[in-house]
């Protein structure tokens, strides 16, 4: 085996068509992200039909630009990796079939990456210590306790190795990202809702509105966010006039505080979960699109400090869907021998516990 492995990773399971070349020494040689978000903004959400069509139009150029930015040709690459699920099947197929085509025509090994595993492992590629302000970055060692929160998922995972993920808690209804998107839509603020609500919340009073903290009075590590969304709708139904900036800021701050409190409450219980105690993770990690949220990052960092743990989170551009995390997961899987040996079908539904 060569000393340094080069992997081309391809991601196309939702908004982004993305590719990256990453090496086994944790260097990102190139990274191209083509986002369809501007096309989705007018609909207030991801549009699957648009997504598949836009991926097809973008994918060849994204892959070619990634290789040329890295100063490499396909023959320099050792491993091909692509997202094979879960996600919107049309988009996943575009990236996956491109990877299959490249692997078959070059005879190079192919890794089928679970999209969630990409998010779960990317803190090992880049886990910026103490938020984003430090330029130094750490590689998070196993085991770690992970909050994986995005538009489609919200879960607490104990990550003890490549392919070794234990589900400690998960949402029983909406994801955290969906709550942000829907509240943003109710306020007429646009898509994606997370960054907009975060910015507005920074100028607002988080005690202005009383949002519920679903499940926080109960044991366990599961989440429920649909009640927060309903509370938002009920509040807003009482106001018929135009919302002032102050109203919006206070509303966003109060809503966001309820989401943060729920995550911290559930994490508190997770730290007392028997599996977590036995594994004794030293690092508390947040990943996924919602990990960009400044309030979630700072609250989790505080919690880590209070519990003698290190806080880690990927840099902001590696939180949302991206090709680098798929390339990195490709390297990690390749190094433990997990490559595709017979044809597989992409899986729209693919829990991390079924790897």
């Amino acid at each position: 085996m060569k000393e340094k492995i080069l992997c081309l990773g391809i991601e196309s399971s939702c908004d982004e068509t993305s590719a990256a070349v990453v090496d086994s020494d944790r260097n990102i040689l190139s990274h191209v992200i083509y986002s369809q978000v501007p096309e989705h903004q007018k609909y207030g959400g991801v549009v699957p039909e648009l997504a598949a069509r836009a991926h097809i139009l973008a994918i060849d150029e994204v892959i070619n630009k990634t290789l040329s930015d890295a100063g490499k040709t396909i023959s320099d690459i050792d491993v091909i990796a692509a997202t094979a699920g879960p996600g919107l099947i049309g988009g996943v197929l575009v990236g996956w079939m491109s990877a299959v085509g490249i692997a078959q025509s070059t005879g190079k090994p192919l890794v089928a990456v679970n999209h969630l595993e990409g998010h779960a492992l990317v803190p090992r590629l880049r886990g910026a210590s103490a938020g984003d302000n430090k330029t130094e970055s750490i590689s998070v060692p196993f085991p770690y306790l992970l909050v994986l929160a995005s538009g489609g998922h919200t879960m607490i995972l104990l990550v003890s190795g490549v392919g070794k993920y234990e589900l400690i808690g998960q949402t029983l209804d909406d994801s955290a990202g969906e709550a942000f998107d829907k509240v943003s839509k109710m306020l007429g603020l646009g898509y994606p809702g997370g960054p907009i609500v975060d910015t507005r919340a920074q100028s607002g009073n988080k005690k202005a509105f009383k949002f519920p903290r679903p499940l926080c009075d109960k044991p366990g590590c599961d989440f429920s966010f649909s009640g927060i969304k309903t509370a938002a709708r009920t509040f807003l139904a009482k106001y018929t006039t135009q919302y002032t900036d102050e109203f919006i800021n206070d509303f966003c701050a109060s809503f966001q505080a309820s989401v943060v409190d729920c995550i911290i409450n559930r994490l508190g219980n997770a730290l007392h979960d028997e599996r977590v105690i036995n594994s004794a993770p030293k690092t508390l990690v947040v990943a996924g699109g919602v990990a960009k949220n400044s309030a979630i990052r700072s609250s989790m960092e505080k919690m880590a400090t209070e519990n003698g743990m290190i806080f880690a989170a990927p840099p902001l551009n590696l939180c949302t869907d991206n090709g680098a995390m798929i390339a990195w997961a490709g390297i990690e899987n390749y190094l433990v021998g997990k490559v595709v040996t017979e044809p597989i079908a992409p899986r729209p539904r693919w829990p991390l516990t079924e790897l």
């Binding site: 549009v47 039909e49 209804d173 649909s226 729209p348």
Partner: protein
């Protein structure tokens, strides 16, 4: 046509549980109502009644569809083109499953004649269901 007033979540769950027991596949149920009115809550109660209280029923908004062994739960909120309905498996589900559809408008002309339409509205401090 039938109208039901549900004062709180418990009443909603109780009603949905009773309603679930009357369903036999294939049967399509269209859930109509505004954002956050409780469409998913009704779907969740139906699925839990039929597939066990421990069943986790996440929102299908992001994934478009969630399957529960003979029950399909769709959210067509993000679908803007009818051509997508086949790709996401809606037609197959309608012919075989108990199929719950949130934001069903875009699929209206494909829904079977015996579709049960549930309209959820706000009514004073409660929810009103109109079932057709």
């Amino acid at each position: 046509m039938k109208e039901v007033i549900l004062k709180d979540l418990n009443q909603t769950r109780e009603w949905a549980g009773q309603f679930a027991k009357t369903l036999h596949a294939p049967q399509t149920i269209a859930l109509n109502g505004n954002l956050g009115i409780g469409k998913s809550e009704i779907a969740r109660a139906i699925i839990k009644t039929l597939r066990g209280a421990e069943t986790i029923v996440p929102s299908p908004t992001f994934t478009i569809v969630q399957n529960y062994d003979g029950i399909s739960h769709f959210d067509l909120y993000r679908i803007t083109d009818e051509s997508e309905l086949t790709e996401i498996g809606l037609m197959h589900a309608i012919e075989n499953d108990i199929t719950l559809i949130e934001w069903p408008q875009i699929a209206e002309k494909y829904l079977p004649k015996d579709t049960i339409n549930i309209f959820i509205e706000e009514f004073e401090q409660a929810r009103k269901l109109i079932i057709k």
